[in-house]
Amino acid sequence: MKGWVSKSRILFLLSSLMLVLTGCGRSNLTALQPKGEGADVIFDLMMLSVIIMVFVGVVVMAIYFFVLIRFRQKKDQEDFIPKQTEGNQFLEVLWTVIPILLLVILAVPTVQKTFMLADTTPSEENKEDAITIEVTGKQYWWHYNYNGQKIQTSQDLYIPTGERVYLKLNASDVIHSYWVPTISGKMDTNPGENTNEMFLHAYEEGVYYGKCAELCGPSHSLMDFKVIAVSPEEFDQWVSDMQNVDTDATPESDSAQRGKELFTEKSCIGCHAVGAGGGASTGPNLTNFGDRAKLVGYKENTKENLVTWLLDPEKFKPGNKMTGKYGNGDPVNPISEKEASQIADYLLQLQPSEITPEDAKSTDSDSEEEK
Amino acid sequence: MSDEQLQTLKPGQSPHEPEKATLEGKNKFLGFWFFLGGETVLFASLFGTYLALKDKGAETKAQELFGLELVFIMTIILLTSSLTSVYAIYHMKNLDFKKMQLWLGITVLLGASFLGLEIYEFQHYVHEYHHTFTSSAFGSAFYTLVGFHGGHVLFGLLWIVTLMVRNAKRGLNLYNAPKYYVASLYWHFIDVVWVFIFTVVYLMGKVG
């Protein structure tokens, strides 16, 4: 019996140890070090509930271990018949009332915060300036439409720090869920008329990792995105850069120039718009593709990776909606390696803005970048 | 106990609640009521779905689609069949097998004509309004709800006819009395559902 107790204790120790070893996870992905209003509010609620649980847990475990140690059958007790107690009214009332009280303590802030997070209309005075962005989840990428700014982008969401940015969420195929743990809780994106709303309010600059949290097909786990929070001035800069993109500008290198032509010839343009004003949105808008830190959401945005993607998108995203739909109609070799390289040169030099994820790296510095 | 169960009951004999005279009968009685409790939830799910999808995606809205004359006739027919099945059970309790069969026969005829009218009605919607199962979410929900009810009517008819034919020769006994009784409960339940269908689907559809 002693063994039993000590074993459980070791187990507990072990698990606490694990926690220490792993820390709280990557600082721009974890929900445990909130850097935005939503995550902050929720973190407080979490801590309150944890305190309540620890309290009840201590009581339960104290009784539990006492009972198990004290009332194990002793050697001479084979024939001992204990008293057959029916119950105890006082105790029973006690353990009905105390949990009720504890739950009330939890329920009040829960309701309050639920309403607070659902308050997604800008207040009267900043109605004019409030930024509202339409977010559309698609298999397996994100489309953004900054209505007020007339900018359409994809994958990376640029927002200013220090204010609430309002999102209107929708999906075009199946349900996805928009989650940036360090800044805010998640919200589903529904296909059809049920538009959801939420806000993002980042306290500090940073590149925050976002994840799709609703099973949406084979590449559900690869539908990563980034929220890039920059200072309001930088954000304004970004907006004006994006609004003034010159899509007709001739690329510097010949290869990139050829790539630009191929982009039309190989029917890329049918799905991808280049130019923040809009256009086709069957695929991600590529206006600022060269500024992105990640390709297709999670791969290092290098030329090598890009060529691989263009030659066979399945390699990076199983079940993606681009495979087999571009190039000369040949499903095996839609474009040649050379053409891919040329297109890559073209795409990678699409860097219209001075403001890039680099400008928001402050919180990203403490964790090493992956290969 | 068991062979006794097969002895034909004649008027003038007790018990007067033959459906609950045996343990099997009591079990059946209770079990079937519980089943109806479950059916309530089943139809509620269908009603809920229908209400959520009413008029959605459809060119012809409920208000223009539905006519009330036919529905009224169908309602009266089904209500009457409920009464005739009550008559049947009345005669069962009096152990008058012949009359019971007669009234059940009338119930079946009424039920069948209800079903015929329903099929005609569906045809009408399909041909006149192109309101089909696959034309819109409204269509899917409408045919599913009303069709589930129609399916229940059909099953009820088959059930009662089987009972009548099987027992035509040997009359009422403690073994088959619970079966008759339970079948009649089923038939009433179908009527209960219809009352909500004509109210919620047709009348409220018409009101808009």
Binding site: P99, P218, S367 | S45, T144
Partner: protein, 619 residues
């Protein structure tokens, strides 16, 4: 028929006996064996999941395969492993605990099993052509647009096995209400029977919602309907509601009988009557009642709005109160008793902290605002494995150790039992405790890969190691079963010095259970007789003929028919000739039902003389 069962049988005869049996004790074995096989299948799938997640960016299985694995793991474990285990335990124990010779509808009992079985087989046949891959929750439109036939197998497999479950539920309701021995009032029923009653009520009201949901999904996928298709005016939220109106009560369907059996086990092995019996009954009913008002806590992030979210959050939290009553009553049942740490009791004692932790995280999830962070992450995965594995699976192990002698006449080896417990217990906490933190650190569930550099490596590795410990425990348990069946010692009628009626008759009981219906004189009737009487139940009736139901092959045929129909329906989208197969299946089903209704089935009698011959001293 009576002679057939009495004689020593060859393999063919035994098989035929099991295919046609209507005896609740044999049906219990059928449920146990098929549930056990499905549990191993689901466990194997879990292992593959954990191997895939052992290291970052792993490519052990493809992403499509991974989605099939999680879907089949969840579906199999819930519907095809946990449910039949529950039904196995209810079948073996409930009729005996209330002093009945059989269930109210032996024929339906068998039908319920075979429908469940064929539904499960249909679902698993999907592995040959591509399994369902939209998660066990099958959210539309992913499920309605999923290519291939996987989701069709899901829809029809669950539809068929769900029908079986519904039938089983009604059967137990009527059994418990109508078949109790004289003196067995409601407030004298053992807690396991009480929980079986409430669980059956939940089945009765929860499963129809699933039935409808599955029908709608079938119509969408196979017949072009538009319930969940936004372009036709449909709305996928309807599916979410229907699924969870069923789904939430379902988790209490699983756990309530387990609560009941823990109550019986704790009081037996503490040699004390259950502390606060009436509060326990009340709590059970209250959990069942509240269980129907909380389903939308699975949909906090769907966007229902703050009013709905708040209402459902509060309703959900309320369930902690009756559950807490149970936890404390168990603790105080042990308080002042003499605790014998048998294998059954070991699983029970381990259950209390494990389940409580799972319940705590449940209440944390119920805080709607906070659920915006937890939802669809490994925090939720951790929560429900804590309540399901730490509750239901521990409970099944405890129940099997407890009732094994009643089912098979032999006691499972106690040493091996404890040896199986430790790796499973340690592995369980190793696997799932760390997952709470994985979730909070940003790992969503249903993720085929996580990336290195996201800080999730170590946690996942530990989790995977834990799963192997659980496998080890399971294998030791299986070994125990085999060894016991080969050379286990024969069990007495009452090996645990227990309290309830099932222990008053031999292990295993004769096929008619009670030669004479017992007279119940109080709560824990056997205990009462042991303390105040001569240790034997007083008969409530003189020795007389016993009426028994006939075996029947019809349940098998009805179920086979629906299986064939299911297959036909699935493939008729490819080739309309399959419609004939579907119709053939329907005809088999309807035809068998027809035969059933025109052929009188009156059962037979065991005569008083035969009973006397077998000796009065069968106890």
């Amino acid at each position: 028929m009576s002679t057939a069962t009495a004689q020593k049988q060859g393999f063919g005869a035994t098989l035929w006996d099991y295919l046609t049996t209507v005896d609740h004790k044999k049906i219990a074995i059928l449920y146990l064996v098929s549930g056990g096989i499905f549990f191993l299948a689901g466990g194997l799938e879990a292992l593959l999941i954990r191997i895939q997640l052992m290291v970052p960016d792993n490519n052990f299985v493809s992403s499509g395969m991974y989605n099939q694995l999680i879907t089949m793991h969840g579906t199999t474990m819930i519907f095809l492993a946990a449910m039949p285990f529950i039904f196995a335990l209810m079948n073996i124990a409930v009729p005996l605990q209330i002093g009945a010779r059989d269930v109210a509808f032996p024929f339906l009992n068998s039908l319920g099993f075979w429908l469940f079985f064929f539904g499960g087989v249909l679902l698993n046949l999907s592995w040959f052509t591509g399994a369902p891959d939209a998660g066990w929750t099958a959210y539309a439109p992913l499920s309605t647009t999923s290519p291939g036939h996987g989701m069709d197998f899901y829809v029809l497999g669950l539809q068929i096995s769900g029908a079986g479950t519904l039938i089983g539920g009604i059967n137990f309701l009527v059994t418990i209400i109508n078949m109790r021995a004289p003196g067995m009032t409601y407030m004298r029923m053992p807690l396991f029977t009480w929980t079986a009653l409430v669980t059956s009520v939940l089945i009765l009201f929860a499963f129809p919602a699933l039935t409808v949901g599955l029908f709608l999904m079938m119509f969408d996928r196979l017949f072009g309907a538009g319930f969940f298709d936004p372009t036709m005016g449909g709305n996928h939220v309807i599916w979410e509601h229907l699924f969870w109106i069923f789904g939430h009560p379902e988790v209490y369907i699983l756990v309530l009988p387990i609560f009941g059996l823990f109550s019986d086990i704790i009081s037996t092995f503490s040699k004390k009557r259950l502390f606060g019996y009436s509060a326990m009954v009340f709590a059970t009913v209250l959990i069942g009642f509240l269980g129907f008002m909380v389903w939308a806590h699975h949909m906090f992030t769907t966007g229902l709005g703050p009013i709905a979210n708040s209402i459902f959050a509060i309703a959900t939290m309320a369930i902690a109160v009756p559950t807490g009553i149970k936890i404390f009553n168990w603790l105080f049942t042990m308080w002042g008793g003499v605790i014998r740490m048998t294998a059954a009791m070991l699983w029970t004692v381990a259950f209390i902290p494990s389940f409580t932790l799972g319940g705590f995280t449940g209440v944390m999830l119920a805080a709607a605002a906070a659920d915006f962070q937890y939802h669809d992450t490994y925090f939720v995965v951790a929560h429900f494995h804590y309540v399901i594995v730490g509750g239901v699976v521990f409970g099944v192990f405890a129940g099997l150790h407890y009732w094994w002698p009643k089912m098979f006449g032999k006691i499972l080896d106690e040493k091996l039992g404890k040896l199986a417990f430790w790796p499973f217990f340690i592995g369980f906490h190793l696997t799932f405790f760390i997952q709470h933190f994985l979730g909070l650190m940003g790992m969503p569930r249903r993720y085929w890969v996580f990336h290195s550099g996201d800080g999730l490596d170590l946690g996942n590795l530990i989790s995977t190691i834990g799963a192997f410990f659980m496998t080890l425990g399971t294998l030791i348990f299986l070994y125990n079963v085999i060894i016991t069946s080969i050379k286990g010692e024969k069990a007495s009628a009452d090996p645990w010095d227990a309290r309830t009626l099932e222990w008053s008759i031999p292990s295993p009981p004769p096929f008619y259970n009670f030669k004479q219906t017992p007279l119940v004189r109080g709560l824990d009737p056997l205990w009462v007789e042991k303390r105040q009487g001569n240790g034997k139940m007083t008969p409530a009736e003189p020795l007389g003929d016993i009426h028994m139901p006939n075996n029947s092959f019809i349940p098998f045929m009805i179920s086979l028919g629906s299986f064939v129909m299911g297959y036909g329906l699935i493939y008729q989208v490819d080739d309309s000739r399959w419609l004939f197969v579907a119709i053939a299946g329907l005809l088999i089903t309807l035809g068998s039902m027809f035969v059933r209704s025109v052929k009188d089935d009156l059962g037979y009698h065991i005569h008083k003389e035969d009973l006397e011959e077998k000796g009065a001293g069968s106890e």
